[in-house]
Symmetry: none
Subunit: 192 residues, 4 copies
Amino acid sequence: MAIRQKSDKKRASLLNATMKLVNNQGFHAAPMSKIAKMAEMSPATIYIYFENKQDLINQLYLEVKASFSAFAFKNYNEETCVKESFKQIWFNIANFKINQVEEANFLSQCDNAPIIDEEIKREGLKHLQPLVDLWERGKNEQILKPISPYLMYAFSIYPLAFLTNSHYKKGCEINDERIHVAFNVAWDSIKL
Amino acid sequence: MAIRQKSDKKRASLLNATMKLVNNQGFHAAPMSKIAKMAEMSPATIYIYFENKQDLINQLYLEVKASFSAFAFKNYNEETCVKESFKQIWFNIANFKINQVEEANFLSQCDNAPIIDEEIKREGLKHLQPLVDLWERGKNEQILKPISPYLMYAFSIYPLAFLTNSHYKKGCEINDERIHVAFNVAWDSIKL
Amino acid sequence: MAIRQKSDKKRASLLNATMKLVNNQGFHAAPMSKIAKMAEMSPATIYIYFENKQDLINQLYLEVKASFSAFAFKNYNEETCVKESFKQIWFNIANFKINQVEEANFLSQCDNAPIIDEEIKREGLKHLQPLVDLWERGKNEQILKPISPYLMYAFSIYPLAFLTNSHYKKGCEINDERIHVAFNVAWDSIKL
Amino acid sequence: MAIRQKSDKKRASLLNATMKLVNNQGFHAAPMSKIAKMAEMSPATIYIYFENKQDLINQLYLEVKASFSAFAFKNYNEETCVKESFKQIWFNIANFKINQVEEANFLSQCDNAPIIDEEIKREGLKHLQPLVDLWERGKNEQILKPISPYLMYAFSIYPLAFLTNSHYKKGCEINDERIHVAFNVAWDSIKL
DNA sequence: GATGAATGAGTCTTCATTCAT
DNA sequence: AATGAATGAAGACTCATTCAT
């Protein structure tokens, strides 16, 4: 009979407003007053749900990161061969970045600017363990190069951020064919 | 009628202070007052050298980007074979990111957060044309995959940002051997 | 869900402080910080009650002008003869200028320096219509000269500003006798 | 063989620039830097010609007031009858206000806002003595009402400020006929 | 004399946060 | 829980004036 008086809806509304504002104008253009207005409540109410602004940002980061990770492993079946498994995850991530533009944008901003506490960032990384495990399996099966997961990530996953960013900014449109080409490039980089 | 002239030293001092502050705490934690203090002058003096804060940031971006580009094409000889040419540029960029940590860090922050005016960003991109030309040559000589420069960049150059970032944050140290491994991965991704 | 409400007292306190400062030292010597201090609140609080400094000044002008107009037509009875009616209004205005020195001073400063938005000024003028109507009646009854209201105002009302100003600055003291003399001069100027 | 190294031209240029700026936007929008720019010299140079900003404004006031007074008594002949003498001066003043709009505007702003030191203001008033003397003569000759010069001024001269101001702001255009009507009103107010 | 650079003090305004209800 | 008012500290930027040549 736990009393949940704080409404999840309000919390979500706040997180959402924050993400939108940070995305559009940057962290320094997302004051608490604007966040409150966009979420249709008083600035004072924010402090019922979050300790302060940094806490709000941190929690937003964790939430988005979690949602990203969940998406990344959708339909992921550890039983299939390494390439198929990797392909599934890779396309999941690509689709996330293409379709959940707001979330992807926000994550890439947080990952490159010092706005999230390092401790929180580390916490957000844990979810990717299954991918690291997959790479380990690939190495054991001599399908993948014997390189560290950092290199794996840098050359096969990280480039997606650049591509979707370019897509978003109308530099280079992404379509179905191009995304398959991109996957092959990614695979070529890490396969033995 | 000799008079005190604007000193390049002061200008440079301001740009430098700005970069350091933006790097360490983010754009929103680099107020003009702190920049002035770090550059050892009055806040008012900044406005002799720059129109306003945005102008200061923009000019800093252009300057660092120019310095990066100059570095990228050091010892670049268009006569050598495609792979050698690419290798030269790739290692130049890698060395820049490893040794000029401040500059590299700053650029990656600017490229991922909405703090630089889009027009300025476009201006900063022009310098990379020789690399695009090289890729074109490689495609013609059927040494490189027939893919757009966006893909080329995403998979062969962009990953360096992740690697050096990880290095910087003590996640994954980079040494001479590892950097050569990384180059091979990069090359594998774009070569035919 | 009772909450603290904007208090009319604070608003009035701000308007009052502004008037006093502008009167004593001029518009350029009435910074928001001093206004706040005089009204005994934080500078930030001003912005809860007014959009910005110009808005504060504009609203003060309108308020004082309205109070002036209300005073001008006190005990004004349209039924009495033209001279009596005019006399009533004229003395009302004279008394306002003599007794409400602060208000009168402020208005005359605003009317001669470009500190109030023209649109606001026009709005503040509307209240004087009954006086214009009275002059029209006087002209029809062939009691007043057939001249425009601008001339009427310039020669019968506007001089009061000079007189009270001189009085205020100890140049020429105003007493009961003198004010009656002045009225006769005013009346001579506009009567047929 | 006095050395006049300071150039009168520069001084005049400064005074002129100041008047224009104060007129257009008010005292608070006439910073020394803008004055210097408009007068095409360095801000530092201003301090060779004037002690500080207040001194600059004060001297400008005195100069304009002197020019106004000189204009007021152009062709003034003490020998003619009181009405003719007064008429000459009155029209001189009217013409000044209509034609030297900048100067007139500036004076009326200074006379109504506390920007000129009181002492300086008193100094600027001395020049009008001949008019006061004329009024005295008129009183002795029983042509004018036995009232103080303050009242005389308030009702016969001061109204011109309102009229020309209205003219300037397109409220009530002044033409040759209207100005003669106005003179008659002025005369009616002070004549016995 | 003349000047562009330099600046401390100050301008208006905004912000993250707390208060009082 | 919820909130509009309130605020001290800080933000970017400007100003009258002085410095150094």
